[in-house]
């Protein structure tokens, strides 16, 4: 604070707010962290979120065993043993076998490759596209913004599962097409989030300073604005992975997803649907459990990231 400014009583303290106390304790006064320690702080806060850390470990293991399936899977892919047929979990087949005697653990690992790949690709594409379109709309305002908002309005009005199913019917159901279709609908949400963030950051002084020093709009977006919205983007991208995995499995379950011989967890559940109520019901347990664990883990990580980026939101 410059000393020539009149100060009524004394300088205002640079205080933090104790959330635990639930009221203002402005004198806690921890000094603002320097920029270089921001990432260290971020990691410290993320590591403090126990469920997020456990989830990250679970996901890493899941990725390793799914994509290393050819080495870790107990049987070969599609290895049939018609003599045993569908039997429940046992020492030889931990997750049991299906009607063709295929080991379910092996099948789940290979199907996981597809589910995870689709989830990651959709989230990646949707995030990149959504971030840039959202940033452009927020930065340039007026026309691009109106266009973006009206388009998203249109898509919000129609049940997304309907659009997806019709689109798959039209464009086909190989996994690349499904990824593109899911991403084509997924970018809008993240674009809205980014637009909102950009609108608020655009008004900050450092953007004015960059503009005054002659930086181009593209440079301002890339160097000054996007780094400041990386938190919400990362959180939403993470949650986008979970959403894409669930949506793909739902479509597959309804028969609109990947087609045999490609399998995903949703496809396995769709195939096993008829076993509900029979003595082969174990076929529905494990693919669903794999889905549940994956989505739960991804959501926890998203939660941990949110806490780490924005400690005020801890709730």
């Amino acid at each position: 604070m410059p000393s020539d400014k009149p100060v009524e009583v004394a300088a205002a303290p640079t205080g933090g707010i104790s959330r635990a106390a639930g009221m203002e304790l402005e004198l806690l006064g921890a000094p603002e962290p320097a920029a270089s320690t921001q990432w260290a702080l971020f990691w410290r806060r993320f590591l403090r979120h126990r469920m997020a850390v456990i989830s990250a470990l679970v996901l890493i293991v899941l990725f390793v065993v799914c994509f290393g399936a050819q080495w870790v899977a107990p049987y070969e892919k599609n290895h049939q043993n018609l003599l045993i047929g569908a039997v429940g979990p046992s020492g030889a087949h931990w997750f049991g076998t299906d009607e063709l005697g295929r080991d379910q653990l092996t099948e789940i690992l290979y199907a996981g490759q597809i589910s995870l790949k689709i989830g990651l690709s959709v989230a990646l594409i949707a995030t990149v596209v959504g971030t840039w379109l959202g940033a452009l709309a927020g930065f340039f305002g007026r026309l691009p913004e109106q266009v973006l908002m009206r388009i998203t309005d249109l898509f919000l009005v129609v049940p997304s599962i309907a659009i997806l199913a019709i689109a798959i019917k039209k464009f086909g159901s190989d996994s690349t097409t499904i990824v593109l279709i899911l991403a084509a609908l997924g970018w809008m949400y993240i674009a809205r989030v980014v637009r909102g963030q950009v609108l608020s950051i655009k008004e900050k002084e450092f953007v004015d300073a960059a503009r005054a020093s002659g930086a181009s709009s593209g440079r301002i977006i890339a160097r000054h604005i996007l780094p400041n919205v990386v938190g919400p983007i990362l959180v939403n991208a993470t949650l986008g992975i979970a959403a894409a995995i669930v949506t793909e499995s739902t479509l597959s379950f309804l028969g609109f997803g990947v087609q045999p011989p490609t399998t995903s967890w949703g496809r396995m559940l769709s195939d096993a649907r008829g076993t509900v109520g029979t003595n082969k019901a174990h076929l529905i347990y494990f693919p669903g459990l794999a889905l549940l664990v994956t989505v739960l883990a991804v959501n926890f990580i998203g939660d941990g990231l949110r806490d780490a980026f924005d400690p005020q939101s801890r709730r």
Partner: protein, 396 residues
Amino acid sequence: MTEGESLDPLYLEPSTEDQRPAPTSVPLAVRNLEVEFPTDDGIVRAVDDVSFEVARNEVLGIVGESGSGKTVMSMAILGLLPASARVSGQVLVGGENVVGLSESRMQPLRGKRIAMVFQDALAALNPVHTVGAQIAEAITVHQPRSPRRTRRHEEGRQSTATKGPLSKSEVQDRVVELLDIVGIPNPGERAHQYPHEYSGGMRQRAMIAMAIANEPDVLIADEPTTALDVTIQAQVLDVLQRIQERTDSATLLITHDLGVVAGMARRVMVMYAGRQAEIGTVEDIFYRPRHPYTLGLLASLARVDRDSREERLYRIAGQPPSLIHVPTGCAFHPRCFRAERPDPCATARPDLAPVARDPGHRSACHFSGGLTDVTAESLRAKMSTPPSNTPPSDSP
């Protein structure tokens, strides 16, 4: 969701202090009050060994920077601190210690014998209820459920609000009367409006009306005018003063504005880092300050009768301390112009000791006796020659 012990926001520590109740004529006495909050980064001692009394019909001004513990202290008096707060010492309301009282025993006291006017009336009033309904609620929650069941501590106390259960229309009449007392025009209509339909000054008046609805013995006004325009401030202070004279309540006027204190209070307590720096009459504090922090506050006041272009405003060096790492010894020593470091200021915590020849005037400074020659004027004059010893950062 029953009212039980787990909801009790106060943590009772067995007190070794003398439990003898104060004379009942003192509406509010605070003895060795301490409030601590455990946080992730350490323990915050927001109020540190504070003692004072307020008599009937007396206004005690409490002055300090934001974060000096003023608001936490008033919350402690009302028993409204979060459950994580650790409170020790005594708060005697009419001689009865309310520290550690259960929620169910504290609740009838709040708004009835101790009432509070909050700082930000827009946030402090519930946006979805009309102003009238909120004032009416303050009355009805303290009505005996049936005439037979009067509460023990209310016996012998007779005021308009406690004679017995009021009918709905009587409550409504009282609400309109209260709004009229605090100077709200068209109180009959205004009672049916929502807080957002009021202006800032009117909202603050409505807050005051709500606080005095039950003619409390103790009135705590926490920065009642800070959020208002200067002209509105004067009006609201005027209302507060009229109310205070009318109800005879013991009033705590919490503010960081020395001007407000000078106009309304009879005695003043200066707080720094949760501790008492100095306490005395308005004349003691303004004309014979005996604490360097008080002197600094006075010297930093903008004065209308001076040409501020020629005279720079005094500014207390440094920043208020973190309450987690309060400086050793005297909490103010890193910012003090008079401190002798390390001894005694950085090592020994000064007592709140009586000032010679000023009865009731006490100061927590090792050198309070040696400050007689320093005035706010001389401090300002020193601004042109900055102090030789630059204040060190908070000592560990």
